[in-house]
């Protein structure tokens, strides 16, 4: 019998860090499962399988990184270190914030980077400055853009589409814009392509509620983050004549909900005090909107979180003190800090114009640069965006051609292909796009394209069927590339698929 000395208290709550991580893992798996089901149902079993394989890929890469690191660090108890590193969570979040067309190779490399450079080099769990998953995802976006697997294309996500028109949608065009994704209701239920995990808003909110109820995360960060995005977007929208649906779109599209629930609440990289967390959340929300409105990225959530991670030590210092005695000071700091972030965002908001408008009045003021690497010179009403090679895999469009007429070496093909509505199975009356493609058989180039029937969303897709947009195909062959029309990605692809089918048919003859 031995009596041991231990400093008081000698009583402990049952809740453990491992328990918190288990709950978090459970929620992430639920989101993943939903993604598997959605992709299976909407695109086919191979898409669902790919989600599962990407997750396995990332989890194996994360565990292997941990194991190798601790082996080389001469860990005394590798199993204990693996258990207390919680890298599986990092891997799952990384998968959920990636797009389904990310290649396995890129996913593995980014997981290794995220776990090693995002966490282990800082001293392991609890010591890292940046959210490891956000850090890894930033690498995917920055360095592995070419590694996207085109076989699994799902089309532009709402954030990409919104980004291509400067995140400012005039209220008149909003309905047709949002109808690409089946309206706000379907966005809420998550039936649209996006990053793997950001689809179902309802499920993410349920996970957040569960985690708050279990006291795994605090309620202040997600609530203040999401509400600030909503309120600031509402104000900016009102400045430009957009209504509440614009604010809702800002909340539902992209990573706001997923980031707010799963990433902004990462305790390691956010402040430790409640006023600190509130200020942090307001700052992250403001930066999300500023990046959306002004920067080149499709979505601002990741970089907003990473930028605020850098401010975490400073915010912690701002709220060092006694929460009772310094309550007035803390309140003042939150108010001043929050107001500064909000003012900055609104100021940025005032200088934003929808890209459609700016094209009509070019070089007026601080116009945001067009997104995408290859911004083609724009004129009239059409903005060209990303390059689209004519060899692109257009399987989804199911283009077909029949010869309509032939004289000398010039063949006229009557083609049809699925456009936005039919590719994505969107609600509404959509028809096949039909066009007449004239090909010069001797050179293998297109002479002209003219539309016979336009079956996509009027006011959005028809930008890609304007004379100017169709003119870009003239003189192009299979080895050439054209540019996507911003805001009308799907329709451009549909037209290009017909052009490709006609060129292929001409070659075979």
């Amino acid at each position: 019998m031995k009596l041991t000395f231990k400093p008081s208290p000698n009583y402990r709550n049952e809740k453990s860090t491992t328990g918190i991580m288990k709950d978090l893992g459970l929620c992430l798996c639920a989101v993943l499962l939903y993604a598997v089901i959605y992709y299976c149902a909407a695109f086919g079993a191979q898409y669902g399988l790919r989600v599962i394989l990407l997750a396995c890929d990332a989890v194996v890469a994360a565990l292997a990184t941990d194991a190798v690191f601790y082996k080389f660090a001469k860990s005394k108890d590798i199993m204990k270190d693996l258990k207390s590193s919680y890298s599986i969570i990092t891997a799952l979040i990384l998968v959920l914030i990636s797009r389904i067309d990310t290649s396995y190779f890129a996913m593995a490399v980014c997981t290794i980077m995220a776990v090693y450079f995002g966490k282990l080099v800082f001293g392991g769990f609890g010591q890292n400055i940046f959210n490891p998953a956000a850090f890894g995802a930033a690498l995917i976006m920055g360095n592995f853009a070419a590694s996207y697997n085109v076989d699994f294309a799902t089309g532009a996500t709402p954030t990409q589409a919104a980004s291509s028109i400067g995140w400012m949608i005039p209220s008149g065009n909003f309905a047709s814009f949002i109808s690409q994704y089946g309206g706000l209701g379907r966005m809420f239920l998550g039936q649209y392509p996006s990053t793997i995990g950001s689809t179902c808003a309802l499920l993410i909110l349920c996970c957040g509620a569960f985690l708050i109820w279990q006291r795994d995360i605090d309620w202040q960060t997600p609530v203040f983050y999401i509400c600030t995005v909503f309120v600031e977007a509402l104000c900016i929208g009102l400045m430009h004549g957009a209504g509440i649906e614009y604010a809702l779109f800002n909340v539902l599209a992209g990573g706001v909900l997923f980031g707010g629930v799963f990433m902004a609440t990462d305790p390691v990289t956010t402040p430790v005090t409640i006023p600190g967390r509130i200020l942090w959340a307001i700052g992250a929300a403001s930066l999300t909107l500023i990046i959306r409105l002004k920067a080149n990225f499709a979505d601002g959530v990741l970089f907003a979180i990473l930028l605020m991670n850098m401010l975490t030590p400073a915010i912690d210092k701002l709220f060092d003190g006694n929460q009772i005695k310094d309550a007035a000071k803390f309140r003042r700091n939150v108010l001043i800090g929050g107001a500064a972030f909000a003012a900055l965002t609104l100021l940025v908001g005032t200088s934003v114009k929808p890209k459609g408008e700016t094209a009509a009045a070019p070089a007026s003021s601080g116009v945001p640069a067009a997104s995408g690497e290859a911004a083609a010179p724009a004129g009239g009403d059409v903005n060209f965006g990303e390059a689209l090679p004519m060899t692109y895999n257009f399987n989804a469009n199911k283009a077909s051609c029949v010869i309509d007429g032939e004289e000398n070496n010039t063949v006229r093909y009557a083609c049809e292909a699925k456009g936005f509505g039919l590719v994505t199975n969107a609600d509404g009356d959509y028809e096949m796009n039909q066009a007449m493609v004239v090909v010069d058989k001797s050179t293998g180039k297109i002479k002209s394209i003219s539309m016979i029937n336009f079956g996509d969303t009027a006011g959005v897709g028809d930008m890609a069927t304007s004379d100017e947009a169709l003119a870009q195909f003239e003189g192009k062959g299979l080895e050439d590339e054209v540019n996507l029309v911003t805001g009308a990605t799907f329709t451009t692809r549909s037209v290009a698929s017909m052009a490709q089918a006609a060129l292929n048919a001409a070659q075979e003859d």
Partner: protein, 438 residues
């Protein structure tokens, strides 16, 4: 009017709850019969009563009776005289290990088991006595804060200016401990007399007796005793540390204060102190025995016992069936604020109210995840996670800003820590460090 405040949250959106409901394990002992401990043959009365040093009034070979004054305080402020808990012969003054793990002088009394008693005080009627007379009685009867601190009771009442509220603390928020509860259930009339005497002493127009809302049977007893007196029963939620005076006063009045409860117009005393005073007034006897909770998974028969002051802890544990397990933590008091003492030779003093024996298991601890739960629950409003971080790098400026010295070591930060770190110990290190640099 205080009833209305029951359970009301005085919470700002910028702070956490600053408290936490924890499992008290009180069912282990609360409703079991109270064991009157067999008196040991040898008792050792420490010559330091709490923090009050005393000089002995007896010498080797003297015969003493129960209740006889055997030690006189040497300090006017820390004035708590010592009385003999048993009758017998003084063997001498001996050095023994105290609960502070230091050697200290004890009066060694050989018990003759005759229980021959001397009435230490004349019968005292607080209703007819003047305030000064009550104060004098409280002082000479050796009344001290029996919640654990042992602060001389009379000291709280010397200058009762601006006191609006007298509070009796029957909350007993330490897990495992039910000694106050058992004592109150057994002696409700003594409690009422003592409480009314202290209310008169405080000059406050009204009083409150604070009790946890889950102790339904005690609440019923209290209503029976206090309905019709200026003292009302106030139920407080079952949270920790509801019994800490700052948290209690905040819950009852919504007031915060800087140093002493008197700044908020309040005086507090523990319910056991009221019972001891009632006993002294009615039966003329000082504190010679204590209600003591012996509980935890490291002792065979957890129960409440009545034990003479000066009984070695080893004797108490033996009579409760002994230890369970090979490696135990013996804690004087409850597991949150009580000290572990790796030696069971120390004796039970007047301010002890429990022995908690827990089997020692090391928790699986991982690195701090900065979850901030310690910050949200800290009843003093501190940021223990930052204090620990700044203590490691000895960042004096930050530690000053973090008001390290406001920590009362209630232990909630270690309790709540999901990474199972010794957070409170880190704050203690910071306090010791700051005391040195000052």
């Amino acid at each position: 009017m205080f009833q209305e405040r029951k359970g009301k949250e005085h919470m700002s959106i910028l702070t956490g709850p600053m408290r936490f409901h924890l499992d008290g394990h009180k069912e282990l002992t609360a409703h079991k019969d109270v064991l009157v401990l067999e008196e040991p043959d040898d008792l050792y009365i420490p010559l330091v009563n709490g923090r009050a040093a005393c000089s002995p009034l007896v010498k080797e070979g003297d015969e003493v009776k129960v209740g006889q004054r055997i030690g006189e305080p040497t300090d006017g402020f820390w004035y708590v005289p010592i009385f003999s808990p048993v009758s017998g012969t003084v063997v001498g003054i001996e050095k023994r290990m105290t609960a502070a793990l230091k050697p200290g002088d004890h009066i060694h009394i050989r018990n003759d088991h005759k229980h021959s008693a001397t009435r230490a005080f004349r019968e005292f009627d607080y209703e007819t006595a003047t305030r000064e007379e009550i104060l004098d009685f409280v002082k000479s009867a050796g009344m001290a804060g029996l919640g654990g601190a042992g602060f001389p009771t009379f000291n709280k009442y010397t200058k009762p200016e601006g006191i609006e509220l007298f509070i009796i603390n029957a909350v007993e928020c330490e897990p495992y401990l039910t000694a106050d509860y058992a004592n109150s259930m057994a002696n409700p009339e003594l409690m009422r007399d003592g409480a009314l005497a202290l209310l008169k002493l405080s000059t406050a127009p009204k009083g409150l007796i604070a009790v946890k809302e889950d102790k339904k049977d005690l609440i019923e007893v209290l209503h029976k005793q206090f309905d019709g007196t200026p003292i009302e029963v106030a139920e407080v939620p079952d949270i920790y540390p509801a019994g800490w005076e700052r948290t209690l006063i905040y819950m009852l009045t919504g007031k915060r204060y800087d140093r002493l409860p008197a700044e908020a117009g309040c005086i507090l005393n523990n319910v056991s102190t009221c019972i001891a005073l009632g006993n002294a007034m009615k039966n003329g006897m000082p504190i010679t025995a204590k209600y003591l909770t012996v509980s935890g998974d490291g002792v065979k028969e957890p129960q409440n016992v009545i034990v003479p002051v000066g009984t070695p802890a080893s004797e108490v544990i033996r009579q409760c069936g002994g230890y369970v397990g090979e490696d135990c933590l013996l804690i004087a008091g409850g597991p949150m604020m009580g000290r572990t003492i790796p030696n069971d030779q120390f004796v039970i003093g007047i301010a002890n109210n429990g022995l908690t024996v827990l089997q020692h298991r090391e928790p699986f601890s991982v690195k701090c995840l900065r979850c901030g739960k310690c910050t949200e629950t800290c009843p003093s409003g501190l940021v223990p996670v930052r204090i620990n971080a700044c203590e490691k790098i000895k960042d004096i400026d930050s530690l000053k800003k973090l008001s390290v010295m406001d920590c009362i070591e209630c232990g909630l930060c270690t309790y709540i820590c999901p990474s199972k770190l010794d957070v409170t110990e880190g704050v203690r290190r910071a306090k010791r460090y700051m005391a040195l640099v000052k």
